[in-house]
Amino acid sequence: MIILKINSWAELLFGAAIGISVVFIALAILVILFEIVQKIMIGQSKKKQRKAGKKSDEIVDTSANANEIVAISAAIHLFFNETHDKESNVITIKQIEKRYSPWNSKIYGLNNTLHR
């Protein structure tokens, strides 16, 4: 089915307008949804922290705490030096080591180590 049988400039422009609008609408709804999710999450974590007896001023800081900033600087440092070998190394090894399948799970890896 052709939504708009494009025969004229007007129809083309109209199609383009629908197109860009829908892109905006789709992403805008995602924005709104995740802003709501965000509020709920922050609300929940505030509640938890209040229960734990902290002051609310401190809570705001957690979203940009020292560790995070250090991490970001480190990341940027790594990015410009492109020497992040050690880290990804460790990650890769960890990922590969899980020789584990749906039909044949952890226990098999275990079995394998036994009889070798």
Binding site: M1, I3, L4, A10, F14, F24, P102, W103, Y108, H115
Partner: protein, 411 residues
């Protein structure tokens, strides 16, 4: 609030975009009604217009699968792909745009063709073979019979399905759910009853994930206190020669008896030879990692997507789910009972703990783990895991043989 502000801003921009164009449109001879018409048509094309509540039901099912996989860690490598596939398959769409899995030429239908023509499951068996250690089975061959006994579930369900009114071919495909083996179920239903594949696959994988819930009551019901604490001798060490001979002899013997099981058993034993030969580890490594993972991704996604609500939400599907549950119970019971029968003929000291009989259903390795846990419940120091692995892998062979026989009887 700032939030509100930029949302209003957004709206203004959208209106700003439409304004000049719609004006121009009128100048260019498009009537207002055409604009409305076109918007209507666009709307008709979205999932909102094609929406029906049955899609919501399936989306909910998909979310449950994903939840169980992630939060409960139940067979996540199966439930997460299948669950997401259910979401993908149940976003409503207008036909004719090569979107749906049942529309020829769509990407999903291309990826699904490996399921339909039946070559995904054998490649998964290749990887399973390259992962599986048959040592405990070789050390104590008689436990193979427990893997045979649990296949009674298949044939019982086959009979039950016929009683309910399915055709013989459909009965075969439904029966195989009792084999508790996903790839075998998909392979057989692709050959015997493609129209039921989605329901059969989802039922098989659901109950495989539910093995820790389904099996323990049956096992406890059919055993007495004394039987549950039987201790078994640790398996002997198996030589390299035996490990290499097993896949070769296994292949020749089982496929001579049931040649139709070749695609599954040929690949299973091939993978195992690659693993055990000691000189083809490079190939075994790819079979058990890159290859099986790729096929698992494609198989899970497309099997999930094949549950498109309009084809899936039928009375047949419900019946299949019921039969599937029954078949798991029967299979578990057969395994346990057969172990008890074998004990009648075994002398003291060689007796089998019937709790490992249930592992014969396959559902590797969850049902072996269930044997271990139930066993520990009655004797904190009696570890049945190693012993339960034997019927467990035997169950894989057993249900593949059963699938071969059903194929040659019914196709």
């Amino acid at each position: 609030m700032r939030d509100l502000k930029y949302k209003i801003g957004l709206l203004l921009i959208l209106i700003g975009l439409f304004m000049p164009i719609s004006m121009f449109a009128q100048d260019g001879g498009i009537s207002g009604s055409l604009i409305l018409d076109s918007l209507q048509k666009f709307w008709n094309n979205t999932s909102f217009a094609n929406f029906e509540y049955k899609y919501l039901v399936m989306i909910f099912v998909g979310l449950v699968f994903i939840y169980l996989g992630i939060a409960k860690n139940w067979e996540p490598l199966l439930l997460v792909p299948i669950g997401f596939g259910i979401l993908v398959g149940n976003v409503p769409f207008t036909e004719g745009y090569k979107i749906g899995i049942y529309e020829p030429g769509s990407v999903l239908s291309i990826l699904y063709s490996g399921v339909i023509s039946g070559w995904y499951p054998p490649l998964i068996f290749l990887g399973i073979g390259a992962m599986t250690d048959f040592s405990t089975l070789i050390a104590n061959p008689k436990l193979l019979l427990l893997g045979a006994a649990a296949q009674v579930g298949i044939f019982a369900t086959f009979i039950g399905a016929y009683a309910i009114g399915f055709t013989p071919e459909q009965c075969g495909a439904i029966g195989i759910i009792g084999g508790a083996d996903g790839p075998t179920a998909i392979f057989l239903s692709s050959r015997l009853a493609p129209e039921l594949m989605g329901a059969i696959a989802v039922a098989a994988y659901s109950y495989m994930a539910l093995v820790p819930v389904i099996q323990p009551p049956v096992m406890k019901l059919l055993t007495n206190k004394k039987e549950r604490v039987i201790r078994m001798k640790p398996p002997r060490q198996v030589s390299r020669f035996e490990k290499i001979a097993f896949p070769i002899i296994g292949l020749l013997l089982t496929t001579f008896i049931s040649p139709s099981a070749m695609p599954l058993l040929g690949m299973l034993f091939f993978g195992n030879l690659l693993k055990e030969s000691g000189v083809t580890e490079r190939l075994a490594e790819t079979a058990r990692f890159a290859l099986i993972n790729t096929i698992t991704i494609l198989l899970g996604l497309t099997v999930g997507a094949s549950t498109q609500a309009d084809r899936f939400l039928t009375v047949d599907s419900l019946l299949i789910f019921g039969l599937g549950a029954a078949s798991f119970v029967v299979a578990t019971a057969s395994g346990v009972l057969f172990a008890k029968i074998m004990n009648l003929f075994l002398k003291e000291g060689n007796k089998i703990n019937p709790l490992i009989g249930s592992a014969g259903v396959s559902a590797v390795p969850d049902s072996a783990r269930v044997s271990q846990e139930v066993g520990l419940h009655y004797d904190k120091t009696n570890h049945l895991l190693m012993h339960a692995m034997a019927p467990n892998v035997a169950g894989v062979i057993g249900s593949a043989v059963a699938a071969g026989i059903l194929l040659s009887m019914l196709s």
